[in-house]
């Protein structure tokens, strides 16, 4: 009986089967648990090492605007302000551009251009942030200083947002470089969400006599709204935590100024600049507390974004798998 003979060795191997499988499962489970462990470790380390500053300043830490390492007085408000303003400025510039690019590539673009276009936007995402910063220092800042900022001051100076000496370095430069960096993120997610809108929605709108623009507005953008917002928030998360490019152009002065021309400081850049030089435990602890705050904010922002993107693309991908 040849069949029983060939079956025999694999039946015998059940002993190996019984040992090998649990070991394998344990090994990969350990890897998976590492991920949970890493997150736990981050939370623990940040909280443990910032405890000293938390005890010393309490909630005053987040509303005080006096950052004085020599006197050991630490208030993080200027950094929080800088992070928020530069990120919101970046969103203001990036969102219309990113959504525009995504709509163009999914709805109107000739097929030949589609590949190269998405390749280019991905390439933008692959450039390290230190190189963005380098470019900003030597190209963007001089342009702002010599042309854009004087122009804005002349035409919009009365709004008090565009006042003061045009240094080039400052909040405006940080906002623009951040915008350039987050456009690829927002547009790639928006593109994903837009392609998830079912085809028949578009066809129905067109059949009702909608023009192409009306079809995009009513059928596509409205359906994909939650996902697009998710993409925008994901971009915001990236902008909040972005360090190098911002540090290089924002001017690094812990002050709250009304004008966008004035230098500012962000939470990430104060860490980059002062962490390795921090002398004294309270100083270090205060810096880590800034890190903790930054971490918590980005976690909340990212979780929100994931949830929104999921809510749109989830049903779609399941349908796509069935088809």
């Amino acid at each position: 009986m040849p069949t029983t003979q060939t079956a025999a060795p694999s039946l015998l191997s059940t002993s190996r089967y019984e040992i090998g499988d649990p070991i394998f499962k344990l090994a990969v489970l350990a890897c998976a648990l590492t991920i949970l462990g890493l997150l736990g470790l981050i939370v623990y380390e940040l909280m443990f090492r910032s405890a000293m500053s938390w005890h010393a300043f309490g909630l005053k830490f987040f509303v005080g605007n006096n950052w004085d390492p020599v006197q050991e007085q630490f208030g993080a408000l200027p950094f929080i302000y800088g992070t928020l303003v530069s990120s919101l400025l970046a969103l203001l510039i990036a969102v219309p551009l990113a959504v525009g690019v995504a709509v163009f590539t999914t709805e109107m673009c000739p097929r030949v251009l589609r590949g190269p276009l998405s390749f280019f936007t991905e390439l933008l995402a692959a450039i390290p942030s230190v190189i963005y910063g380098l470019w900003a220092i030597f190209v963007l800042v001089p342009i702002l200083r010599n042309y854009v900022e004087p122009f804005l001051a002349r035409t919009l100076g009365w709004t008090s947002l565009f006042q003061g000496a045009p240094y080039g370095y400052g909040m405006l430069a940080a906002g623009i470089i951040l915008a350039i960096m987050i456009v690829p993120i927002i547009s790639s997610i928006t593109r994903e969400v837009l392609t998830a809108v079912p085809r028949h929605q578009r066809e129905a709108a067109l059949a009702l006599g909608a023009t192409r623009w009306e079809m995009i507005r009513v059928a596509v953008l409205r359906n994909a709204r939650a996902g697009i917002v998710g993409g925008i928030i994901l971009g915001l998360g990236r902008a909040l935590g972005e360090t190098m490019a911002v540090t290089m152009v924002i001017g690094n002065r812990p002050e709250i100024a009304k004008s966008l021309f004035a230098p500012g400081y962000t939470m990430a850049s104060v860490l980059a600049n002062e962490f390795s030089e921090a002398t004294g435990d309270v100083y270090l602890s205060a810096l880590i507390e800034i890190g903790l705050a930054l971490f918590l904010v980005t976690i909340v922002v990212n979780a929100l974004a994931r949830f929104l993107v999921w809510s749109v693309t989830r049903g779609q991908s399941m349908r796509a798998n069935l088809a």
């Binding site: 694999s10 039946l11 191997s13 089967y17 090998g20 070991i23 394998f24 090994a27 990969v28 489970l29 350990a30 890897c31 998976a32 590492t34 991920i35 949970l36 890493l38 997150l39 470790l41 981050i42 380390e45 940040l46 990113a98 525009g100 690019v101 163009f104 280019f120 692959a126 450039i127 390290p128 942030s129 230190v130 190189i131 963005y132 910063g133 380098l134 470019w135 220092i137 030597f138 190209v139 456009v183 547009s187 994901l234 990236r238 935590g241 972005e242 360090t243 190098m244 860490l271 980059a272 962490f275 390795s276 930054l294 971490f295 980005t298 976690i299 922002v301 990212n302 979780a303 994931r306």
Partner: protein, 262 residues
């Protein structure tokens, strides 16, 4: 119209980078260590090697864990627990790199009492793991279920199926994920600032401060010296070329490899 607005900075950045970079790159730049201020010449050879060294540590630590977790999610993770791991990985992906730097500082640098290549490697590994996990899982799920069932039908145990059938079939995809994670961390500066710290000299010891290309670019870019600005551009060009060629090489290899396996 909007597309043009987006493409302008891209072309401007690349064009300017190549223009300034080509003009400043030379043999000395690639083979010598930095000279003191005011002395012309010198290069970033130690930073290039240091970057490679730190990335090697990061890959040795990060790739097995990331791929292992990806296998877990694909093979055993179709449940609540798997979902929570997936979510954690996504969250970890969004943690600002500078915060990862703080954590690596407190778990490695504070224990060793000084800045080191190991700390830099650990920081970058933490950044690589979630990306690799998610792409590995996606790639493994693309492998047809029938292939697994055929293996089980032959009496092959589950672990051998996962390793030598599923993972092997998905090799090219998994490698792409690894390379993308690699490219992403190769240009990271923020987590290295207070882990690897930078160094003006050669170093290949895991417990000593080490130069890295992005760090060197950063410190030269914010310096007031023209000579250093020139070198920062050259360094940026080298960095971009390394990243792009790494990604392109894998794309190429994958394209050829996948024809072989299917």
């Amino acid at each position: 119209m909007t597309v043009i607005l987006v493409l302008v900075p891209l072309i401007a950045i690349f064009g300017y980078l190549v223009y300034r970079g080509i003009g400043s790159i030379n043999w000395a730049f690639l083979t010598q260590t930095p000279r003191p201020v005011g002395e012309p010449g010198g290069g970033m050879a130690n930073a290039i090697v240091g970057s490679a060294f730190i990335l090697m540590i990061a890959s040795v630590v990060g790739v097995p864990v990331g791929v292992g977790a990806g296998i877990y999610l694909a093979e055993f993770g179709q449940n609540r627990f798997g979902d929570s791991i997936r979510f954690t990985a996504d969250v970890l992906n969004g943690v600002p790199s500078i915060v990862i730097g703080i954590v690596a500082y407190s778990i490695v640098v504070l224990q060793q009492k000084h800045f080191s290549a190991l700390a830099g490697g650990v920081a970058l590994a933490i950044m690589m793991i979630p990306t690799i996990t998610r792409t590995t899982e996606e790639m493994l799920l693309l492998v047809p279920q029938a292939l697994r069932e055929a293996a089980y039908g032959l009496g092959i145990p589950r672990w051998r199926t996962a390793l030598s059938i599923t993972l092997r079939t998905a090799t090219s995809g998994v490698l792409t994920g690894v390379m993308l994670a690699f490219a992403r961390v190769a240009g990271e500066t923020a987590p290295l600032l207070f882990t690897a710290f930078g160094n003006q000299f050669w170093n290949l010891r895991t417990d000593q401060p080490t130069a890295a290309l992005p760090l060197q670019i950063f410190s030269y870019a914010i310096s007031p010296y023209d000579e250093w600005h020139r070198q920062a551009w050259a360094g940026a060009l080298v960095l971009i070329v390394l990243i792009v060629s790494a990604v392109a090489a894998v794309r190429f290899a994958v394209r050829r490899g996948s024809f072989g396996t299917t």
